[in-house]
Symmetry: C2
Subunit: 333 residues, 2 copies
């Protein structure tokens, strides 16, 4: 049923080697023979068998992508960028949702490795620990880690501390003093914690005391933001601004504020982080730290493909962020 290169060769009256040469352009083939081969391919609808091919060329033109939750806008935009650039370079991506589960994450790495991907782009959920480091160190392909520095790996990320520092400073300059913060997991070892560092640094710089009860642990979900806001506002009536460590939580915060009948930004200013697509759309539009998410995705693909071809395995690329000022924050006296 499915045609092989031999079938095509027979029909075109040439050897399989010649068919291969026509397809890949690896060696000159006369015009006349080329035409015969092309015709045979067209006629048979032949598609070369990728398994057989990668067995000999030792490349699959497949990129593995591991992310915690594909239905999170941040990740879907990222993937869109990754896929687009991968496609440009003739790669396809194998997607693997690690959920929010470390074992599953390890499983994803192993599965992708077994599938013979040429490289893996991943965003670790919470931390990167020994089992994953062991896999990375053993494997012979390059890895790109997004949003987190990671040994033996190419990392691409914004300067979380700095961006968060700037965002906090922006709120302070608007006159806010009682700025609450909804973080990621306290035992996270990357973006969440770094963003908290930036927040604290800005407060310190302006001589504003860090109040532990204005800092609330979050989980990057809408509900986490909602609950965080509830907890914060219930006990701290003086809060004038809330800075959430990602946009999804910021929208949760806004929902709570709206639910208790307050207005944004009149009563409370809200600042997010990430600048996912809907933050420019949904009302009120969110003031947030902009990450060029799609571009980071594209960069990840481009970089890993370069790494595959040139053989390097480590780098640390910082991309620029910036504050997208929109409607959810305002100046106060």
């Amino acid at each position: 049923m499915d045609m092989t290169i031999k079938d095509v060769a027979k029909i075109a009256g040439v050897s399989p080697a010649t068919v291969s040469r026509v397809i890949n352009g690896t060696k000159p083939v006369s015009e006349e023979v080329t035409k015969r081969v092309l015709d045979a391919i067209e006629k048979t609808g032949f598609k070369r068998n990728a398994a057989a091919r990668s067995l000999v060329v030792k490349r699959s033109n497949l990129l593995g992508v591991i992310i915690p939750d594909i239905s999170n806008m941040y990740f879907s935009e990222l993937i869109k960028g990754i896929d687009s650039m991968a496609h440009f370079y003739n790669y396809n991506i194998i997607l693997s949702s690690s959920s929010t589960n470390e074992n599953r994450e390890v499983e994803c790495f192993n599965l992708l490795l077994e599938k013979g991907v040429d490289g893996i782009i991943f965003t670790a959920y919470r931390y990167v620990r020994d089992p994953i480091y062991k896999i990375i160190d053993r494997a012979s392909i390059p890895f790109v880690s997004l949003n987190r520095k990671c040994r033996n790996t190419i990392s691409i990320r914004v300067d979380n501390t700095k961006e968060s520092y700037e965002a906090t400073k922006y709120l302070i300059k608007l006159g806010h003093r009682n700025i609450a913060f909804i973080s990621g997991y306290f035992d996270d070892d990357a973006s969440g914690i770094q963003r908290m560092d930036g927040y604290k640094k800005a407060l310190k710089e302006y001589g504003i005391p860090i109040r532990q009860n204005l800092i609330c642990e979050g989980d990057f979900t809408f509900k986490g933001g909602y609950n965080g806001a509830e907890k914060l506002l219930m006990f701290n009536k003086d809060i004038t601004a809330i800075f959430a460590v990602n946009d999804e939580m910021a929208y949760g915060v806004m929902a709570y504020i709206q639910d208790i009948g307050l207005k944004i930004p009149k009563d409370i200013s809200v600042m997010g982080f990430d600048d996912v697509a809907y933050s420019q759309n949904f009302r009120p539009r969110l003031t947030t730290v902009h990450q060029p998410i799609y571009d980071i995705g594209e960069m990840a693909s481009k970089t890993i493909i370069k790494a595959i071809n040139e053989g390097f395995r480590e780098d640390d690329i910082i991309v620029k962020g910036g504050i997208a000022v929109r409607e959810s924050t305002r100046r106060i006296e």
Copy 2:
């Protein structure tokens, strides 16, 4: 560098065949030998080469997934379901964004076929035409088409006409008579058009004249919804409800309404379609036609894997929807 089954065999002091049997459990191997093989695998970090394997077993355990835009919430939830169930059955998914481009769509099919996927799940962007039918008819793997009936293919979908009819009826029963409709593309041949049919059917049934200027062509994007609302409300001051053919456009509609200072649902009711995750979150919460998106994804995986194993290629599965009543609609006199 990378270990092969031969290396493992040598270290364990057995033949490659035996190693294969231990890994796959295809034939009994004595306990003692099994242990030696397992140890060797552990020690070497051996991962079997998927290319070599699928070359002989003629299966890749890979599912192709083609969707127009992964950064659209509807599709990302879908993919989450697909991936989750695929993982359960030991499959991985290769994702391919077709963008909103027919040529690219065809390319995606061909690329996935070449990669040797065992089946393809797709959501066509606008219509399915000859080039794609040709591919489907020629291929020896099963296809699942989401949200659209399609020849020689297993389709899974909600009854768009019926659900849309019910939604419109719901608005009518709330007292609305001047119900505007923002459709998909007018030349779409599936969900968009079917949803419009349902809308018209309900109006007819209640003796409400269909006013062509209350129907506006949309494109499934936020901006499309926003612009549509603008166009509709600019010229038809009597509109009391707007029914958009998907949630993203419904949020665009709501944004426009808010921007001109009107209130939802006090001044205008808004109805969506799809019930993506954020529709339960963002305020005001959207009243919308519920599709069990994640479940449809799971079902797609399960069904296609069954089709792969049992060899069938055609079916038409209708899943139940229903109206999720929330905050964006209200009763009027």
